[in-house]
Amino acid sequence: MSADTPLVKEPDAQAGPAATAGELIRFDRVTKRFGDHTVLDRLDFSVDAGKHVTLIGPSGSGKTTILRLLMTLAEPDEGTITVAGQQLFPAGEKQIREIRKNIGMVFQQFNLFPNMKVLRNITEAPVTVLGLSKDEAEQRARELLDLVGLSDHLDKYPGQLSGGQQQRVAIARALAMRPQVLLLDEVTSALDPELVAGVLDVLRDIARTTDITMLCVTHEMNFARDISDEVLMFDSGRVIEAGSPEKIFSTPEHTRTREFLSAVL
Amino acid sequence: MTSGLWHLVLSGVWTTLQLLVLGALLATAVSFIVGMARTHRLWIVRFAAGVYTEVFRGTSTLIMIFWVFFVLPLAFGWQLVPMWAGTLALGLTYGAYGAEIVRGALNSVDPAQCEGGIALGFTPWQRMRKILLPQAVPEMIPSFCNLLVELLKGTALVSVMGMGDLAFSGNLVRLALQESAEIYAYILLIYFVIAFLLTRMMRLLEHRLKARAGKTPRPHVLVPEPVGGGLS
């Protein structure tokens, strides 16, 4: 891959045989329990390639769990999850690793590696996982740092950056793997209010200029309205309402949706 | 192994257990006296207790044992029977480690508890006895449990002085049989069994004390303090 290829690879290139027209992610009757608590209750939904989907809903409604299942950080108790036609559970270690390469995740708590400088945080995985040369990876990292507006900070340790800057580095780190899917798990929740805008601007930029598939859990409703193609309203482990942002935010049908929106807006 | 040799080993076990119990008693007394002294309001008392712990923790147990066996009789004319000399050396050194445990636990009691005592007009000693110690003692048990196992291991050191403890009896049997692997394996196993029983007993004690202090015992991972380590 040369430096001037687009930041995000074409979604259809890697799609498996079973992928129907554009469908990239599919949850089929997925149930996840923690002890007696059912977080996801026979959940069905799918996401088409290149779409930006936002998950909203009260805390504890299972939104984050969906992202964690997709990232294989947790296992469903029942049901199947397919990404680009490949089933995630059960799957061999090798297969899981292949699927993971196509998925990037940005965490609420950034989870940058504190022992590595910013540049190395970004280049580590492209070099060791994708087999890029150090120069290629650094070139890519510099472009991405440019994109998130942190070109001057590549020689710093994460601990020397503000929360907002760390989160932008984490976004660049996820994008450096050129995933098909980007998972955003409440990426602004741990930030001081004045730092939120910078991070959201970067994400708006990415949503506008790339065709990466985004799956986003957020409490920032304006942001959700701006970037989303589809908004899913969650409650008690199920999708209770889905639709375009205009529909969900302007004319919500479900009472729970109306209650939730009036509480957060 | 003949029964005579087993008898030797058993008498070694008995000596080791005696040393363990006596050493533990002395060490406990030293721990509490010195540990409480380190929280005393007079600086001179705190200082003296601090010097004691640093000196005894700073030096090696085995050197202490040599000192008690060889220097004490010459310097002060105290010729102690070996059992008391061993007890003294072990009790004083391990007491210094125990003092740090006591001090740490006393310091970790919520200061508000102490202020409550002051408000009720308790004397310092009453506060210590009625408020601080009952809350601090259960917290000390896991550390004391580790220290007790360290003390058990420390008792083997007196065999260097020719005391007939378990380690020493192992050496005698080795000389008698001209064979080492088996006897030392047995000796190590016996130490292990004693240590195992000690830890179980201490865990039981902890549950009892915590129940009485109105706390639920929490599961803990024991990371032993380095006995001999310079820090608490």
């Binding site: 590696f113 793997m177 | 090696s60 220097v71 420390g154 064979e179 030392y184 990371v223 032993p224 310079g230």
Partner: protein
């Protein structure tokens, strides 16, 4: 009580010899315990994510169990007897080492069962998010350990490992029991030859305090700098 400065003067050359041996045993014993302790700690860990299920997990209890039992056994039994075991048994098995080598191995082995717990605490203190980030980036398990987890874990445990260096220092005198001429060995030899016990024993006792107390102060300073 008489104090003979002449005896101190006569003992000092032997003291320096003994100090050198003690420091050798300390340095080598510490290194072995650090390396071996890390091996034990890694064998006790499941690979990859603490909560991740991988298909290759089945054989792990087969490693954890024996390692756990053997290390607890070594930790709960006296170093002195282990020393005797190695010193007398190894030659019977056809392995002959110098007394100092045997002693260094025994100390390293004994203390590795302590340092392993230090490492384990350090590894467990690395936030789960670090594991998750490594998974999200598809880093393979070996890379996750060497590039992400261990560098963070070891940084945290340096002061605690330092404590064990001091602990090892104070246990080196037991080497005397297998004829090593460390500080205490030299002091005992001198005492027996000159019938003067007070001076050499007091000199080495003071020497231990003079080494270990400043060392512990140094560690405390280091701890404040590293653990922030």
């Amino acid at each position: 009580m008489t104090w003979d400065w002449g005896a101190v003067r006569d003992f000092m050359p032997h003291f320096w010899d003994g100090l050198l041996v003690t420091l050798q045993a300390l340095a080598l014993g510490s290194l072995i315990s650090f390396a071996l302790g890390l091996v034990w700690a890694l064998l006790m860990q499941t690979p990859g994510l603490p909560h991740a299920r991988t298909n290759s997990r089945g054989w792990y209890p087969l490693v954890r169990w024996p390692v756990g039992i053997v290390t607890e056994f070594i930790r709960d039994t006296p170093l002195l007897v282990q020393l005797f075991f190695l010193f007398y048994v190894l030659p019977e098995w056809g392995l002959t080492f110098s007394a100092l080598t045997t002693g260094v191995v025994a100390i390293g082995l004994h203390y590795s069962t302590y340092t392993m717990q230090v490492y384990r605490a350090g590894i467990e203190a690395v936030p789960t998010g670090q594991w998750e980030a490594a998974t999200a980036l598809s880093l393979p398990p070996t890379r996750t350990w060497t590039a992400v987890i261990l560098p963070q874990a070891i940084r945290r445990v340096v002061p605690a490992l330092g404590n064990y260096v001091i602990a090892i220092l104070k246990d080196t005198p037991v080497l005397m029991a297998i004829t090593v001429l460390d500080m205490l060995g030299e002091a005992r030899l001198f005492s027996q030859q000159h019938f003067q016990f007070t001076e050499p024993l007091t000199v080495i006792g003071v020497a231990f305090v003079l080494i270990s107390y400043p060392a512990s102060l140094l560690l405390r300073a280091l701890e404040r700098r590293l653990v922030r």
